[in-house]
């Protein structure tokens, strides 16, 4: 019995220690003076994390927008309110789907790769060697990746939203025959730039930070074996997805909770 309680205590302490390590890790790596070389490293990571994720974001954004319009139309047409399709597609994309789905895709596409990359560096003792020759791995390896994720997820979210709305337009207006003018004017009447678009951006900034943070920390903190790498990669995707979904609820409650 005593053993069980001690086990619980040890588990809690380990968890708290991991949270503390992760916090210190974030602070240490995010505060770094920008240098020319750092900018170049960041640029390379932007290419890997951001530019290479554009294709998956484009395709899934297009299909999600198209499905949204198709489903919305069949429901709305029953009320004779198919003109409200534009506002439905735009609001659900800008407020919810673009930040969340882009973050989930990002966690799967870029987050897992970051964990595996840093994990392999640790397993092959590249990080230790860097410290030996006086290069700070937090600055050299972690910081550019963190910043790249933080900057590129909002951009991916914007691309997702635009493509999704275009997909909704294709299905709703071009295929199902919703009137073009009311599609856009209803959308413009109901979507507010600060309240909806910018709040969506704030969401994706938070998600970008959290997802890349989890990804690099899992890579940096793993047990340096091949099994450890595979576990950490899985953990990255699971934790990041859960964090995104949970945080999304909290953020939504804060932003739109009092909308009545």
């Amino acid at each position: 019995m005593i053993d069980r309680i001690a086990l619980l205590g040890r588990g809690t302490l380990e968890m708290l220690a991991a949270v503390g390590r992760a916090g210190l890790f974030l602070v240490q790596s995010i505060i770094c003076l920008p240098s020319r070389e750092g900018l170049h490293l960041w640029l390379r990571q932007m290419h890997f994390v951001g530019v290479m994720s554009v294709a998956i974001v484009l395709v899934s954004g297009l299909f999600i927008g198209m499905v949204l319009a198709l489903q919305g139309f069949t429901i709305l047409v029953g009320f004779g309110a198919d003109e409200a399709l534009g506002q439905m597609v735009a609001l659900s994309l800008v407020r919810e789907l673009a930040p969340v789905v882009a973050a989930l895709l990002f966690a799967g596409r870029a987050g897992s790769a970051l964990t595996a990359e840093i994990g392999l560096m640790k397993a092959t003792e590249q990080l230790t060697s860097m410290e030996m020759i006086g290069v700070d791995p937090l600055r050299r390896i972690v910081a550019p990746r963190l910043w790249a994720g933080f900057v590129s997820l909002p951009i991916l979210t914007v691309i997702f939203g635009v493509v999704g709305i275009w997909g909704g337009y294709l299905v709703g207006v071009k295929w199902l025959g919703v009137y073009d003018g009311s599609f856009w004017s209803n959308m413009q009447d109901s979507v507010s730039f600060v309240g909806d678009v910018l709040n969506g951006m704030v969401k994706s900034l938070v998600f970008g930070l959290v997802v890349t943070w989890i990804a690099v920390f899992q890579g940096y903190d793993l047990i340096p074996t091949s099994e450890g790498i595979s576990r950490a990669t899985t953990r990255t995707v699971v934790y990041a997805s859960l964090a995104v979904l949970g945080l999304d609820f909290v953020l939504t409650a804060l932003m739109f909770g009092d909308l009545g």
Binding site: M46, G80, G161, I165, V191, F193, V197
Partner: protein, 153 residues
């Protein structure tokens, strides 16, 4: 070196796509005006029932959009709804004092908005004035109730 510049180009295009996308979301999706917002002036109107009117609903005149509802609050003196709306300043001093405001619905179940109709009085409305002659929103339940009670008689 060539590879590097290609990479930089890729990231540049990526950033540019993000900025352009944000501009699209601003202008096309949320209907943000370009440049400085138009000058506006404020009018108030009291309605005995606003139905489903919400802030940001449009204010029209002969079907043309001339402004929007900025705020709706309960008037504690009369216990009716006080609707505050902003109209383009080009109509400041042009609307006659006996202008009427009605809450209309676009379509059977569409959004509600305010329609203004000018009267013939020589005096005009200015910033902060109150529209006296208003027509409350059409509430479907009340109509049905009336219809049913008429049928019963």
């Amino acid at each position: 070196m060539k590879r590097n510049s290609l990479l930089e180009l890729g990231v540049g295009i990526f950033m540019l796509a993000g900025i352009l996308g944000l501009v699209f979301l601003g202008l096309r999706v949320s209907g943000l005006g370009v440049g400085v917002p138009n000058d506006t002036f404020t009018l108030n109107a009291n309605f005995s029932n606003i139905g489903g009117l919400r802030p940001n609903a449009k204010v029209t005149m002969a079907g043309v959009r001339v402004g929007k509802v900025t705020d709706i609050e309960l008037d504690p003196k009369w216990f009716d709804a006080k609707v505050i709306m902003e109209l383009d300043s080009e109509y400041d001093g042009k609307l006659s004092e006996d202008t009427t405001a009605a809450i209309l619905t676009s379509g059977l179940l569409g959004e509600q908005y305010i329609g203004l109709t000018v009267g013939g009085a020589p005096d005009t409305l200015h910033d902060g004035d109150v529209i006296r002659d208003t027509q409350q929103a059409l509430v479907l339940e009340e109509l049905i109730q009336q219809f049913v009670s008429n049928m019963a008689n």
